[in-house]
């Protein structure tokens, strides 16, 4: 019996099973229902004993056609489905899409300062919440169970703050084209302060549990090492790239939403292994909180949406008093906004790396094409390069440390 080659395997649900065996080599299908693949990922493995000879990730199990759906919705409605791509950091998707559309509309400079500051706060809190899920699940993969509860406690505190602002825990659809859906509620600054006060303690605990833990270090140091050349060749971005020594951060390189006004460092490591990615993400969480603190201090009262009723519907109070405002509201909701023809590429630093949208408008009230550059897709693809030669147990570490989100990989 010959060993089936990985590439001839079809994209069909197969479960974890041995598909072919010849002497010491065998083909094993890991996933798509596997607890440590962080979603519906199938990896076709050619293994020799416990070592991986070849790994071929198979994706597409969560393909929901979000890009196609977006083409059939109004510009404002499309944001709702686009926000569901990266379900661990929904605000980063909607922010990037809003920025892209605002560029096409030519209103980037007219977004009020308060809206930009709140956007930064929301985006950075999302980053911390997303890293919390990453660390919790990464810890569970490696047998460190208690970290999960510490992470999810912090995440829950952050989601409470997000819910107070946007009205929903997971997909608030708070960032809108032209500004925000609503202003922050009363007492929000106090909520932020409570979170900012709790954060350093929580962070010390997270570090104390894992960073100097010899078991954790044994499992992650020198595992899944990515050199800078490999990282660039595979198109890695975000913490995965910065752990290899290249300090490329979209917030520094192409500032958006006023990131140039905040003081923060870009944490980097040079080792490029799973431990380096772990430390970079932890450092990043602290930098994010630093940004939140600065944005919170800089916030002043003011408008939160652009003063253009053809783009953002007027506030409810105005509708009650002005006929024109009512008509504008009706038109924006029932007919959608129109965006001048053109194409634009807009990127932001999502928790996973450079999230980009290539948006094309043909002048109509629906996006003509929304092509996503999902950071998870490119980060996960690097698994093909770094997995061979390692143990299967270390493969789990690598997947965890690359932090893929399958809503975004498959879209």
């Amino acid at each position: 019996m010959s060993v089936g080659t990985v590439s001839s395997m079809p994209l069909e649900p197969q479960g974890s099973q041995v598909l072919a065996q010849d002497g010491n080599a065998m083909v094993l299908s890991m996933g798509p229902q596997h607890p440590s693949t962080h979603g519906v990922l199938q990896i076709m493995l050619e293994i020799e004993g416990e070592s991986v000879v070849k790994a071929e990730p198979e994706i597409g199990y969560l393909h929901t056609g979000i890009e196609k759906s977006a083409e059939n919705l109004f510009w404002t409605q499309a944001q709702t489905v686009i926000e569901r791509m990266d379900y661990l950091a929904p605000e980063s998707n909607s922010l990037c899409y809003a920025l892209a559309v605002e560029k096409l509309l030519g209103i980037t400079d007219r977004i009020p300062e308060r809206a930009q500051q709140i956007r930064v706060i929301v985006a950075e809190l999302t980053r911390i919440a997303s890293h919390c899920v990453w660390l919790g699940t990464h810890g569970i993969d490696l047998g460190a169970l208690s970290i999960f509860f510490y992470c999810f406690d912090l995440r829950e505190n952050i989601l409470d703050v997000q819910e107070a602002a946007g009205g929903a825990r997971m997909h608030p659809n708070y960032v809108r084209i032209g500004g925000l859906q609503a202003d922050l509620p009363d007492g929000h600054v106090e909520r932020l302060d409570a979170l900012l006060k709790k954060f350093p303690t929580r962070m010390r605990e997270l570090r104390a549990i894992l960073q100097k833990n010899p078991i954790w270090q044994d499992r992650t140091i020198d595992v899944g090492t990515v050199t800078p050349e490999q990282a660039v060749a595979w198109g890695l971005t975000g913490p995965a790239l910065r752990a290899s020594g290249i300090a490329y951060d979209v917030r520094k390189a192409f500032p958006y939403s006023g990131y140039e006004n905040y003081k923060f460092d870009v944490p980097t490591r040079t080792e490029g292994d799973a431990y380096a990615r772990f430390v970079v993400r932890l450092d990043e969480m602290e930098q994010s909180m630093r940004i939140v603190q600065q944005a919170r201090d800089a916030m002043k009262a003011g408008p939160i949406t652009i003063d253009d009723a053809k783009i953002a519907p007027p506030p409810k109070e105005a509708i009650a008093l002005s006929m024109e405002a009512l008509i504008h509201h009706f038109k924006v909701v029932s007919e959608g906004i129109r965006v001048p023809p053109g194409d634009v590429y807009q990127a932001i630093e999502s928790p996973r790396g450079e999230l980009g949208y290539y948006v094309v408008s043909d002048g109509n009230n629906k996006p003509f094409r929304v092509r996503t550059r999902p950071p998870s897709l490119y980060n996960l693809q690097a698994l093909k390069g770094i997995a061979p030669g390692n143990l299967i147990a270390d493969l789990v570490v690598m997947i965890g440390s690359l932090d893929p989100v399958f809503g975004e990989v498959d879209r």
Binding site: P10, I59, W234, G235, G245, A247, Y248, V344, G363, K384
Partner: protein, 206 residues
């Protein structure tokens, strides 16, 4: 304040990339498929070491119909600080692909991460990449027909005959279907009685 919005031109623009407002997001170049590889190779030697993304757009009324879009980023391949990176240059190559010849040369030998991106363009638009080591569907199932992100592909997929109901589902159904009087309790009782009588008739007599 006047709105920057412009009403659509005759419903929609045929080639929006030609009408784009002056947005400084990347250096943009349009290129023919024959020159694609040499141009990309030259850009790579020029320091554009990272292939950010590769995607496609379908412009049904335009000739050539498809655009394959390459996003490149100037990136060092050694450790670098944020100051050394600064604001790296982005480069966008647009390559028109006519419907008659849906084929482009692959760039997987130049950038390894083009692998999945090219597979996705093949899967969702039907553009093949010559020389790709493993060109098969990536998002849709292997046996899928059609390329969903084309503009002429219906949103809810092609109309198909409904698959027949499995036998067990038919068996539990009432024989005569929904009675004309609707699903009232009385009508259902009648139906059940009818069905029971029929079952008794079908039972082999001992």
């Amino acid at each position: 304040m006047p709105s920057p919005q412009t009403p659509p031109m005759d419903g929609s623009a045929i080639d929006p990339t030609a009408l784009r407002p002056p947005i400084k997001d990347a250096a943009i170049e349009r290129i023919a498929p024959a020159e694609l590889r040499t141009r990309l190779q030259a850009l790579r030697e020029d320091g554009y070491m990272m292939l950010l993304d590769l995607g496609a757009v379908d412009y049904p009324q335009r000739v050539p119909r498809f655009d394959v879009v390459y996003h490149l980023l100037k990136m060092p391949v050694a450790a670098a600080t944020p100051d050394q990176i600064g604001t790296p240059q982005r480069y966008r190559l647009l390559c028109g692909v006519p419907i008659e010849n849906l084929s482009l040369p692959t760039i997987t030998d130049l950038w390894r991460n083009a692998d999945w991106a090219e597979r996705e363009v093949f899967d969702l638009f039907g553009i093949t990449f010559e020389g790709h080591p493993d060109l098969r569907r990536i998002q849709m199932p292997t046996h899928w027909e059609g390329h969903p992100l084309r503009k002429d592909y219906p949103l809810r997929g092609p109309a198909k005959e409904r698959s027949p109901r499995p036998p067990f589902a038919n068996k539990s159904n009432l024989v005569a279907g929904t009675p004309p009087s609707g699903r009232t309790a009385e009508a259902l009782q009648q139906q059940v009685a009818l069905r029971q009588a029929q079952d008794r008739k079908e039972e082999p007599k001992a």
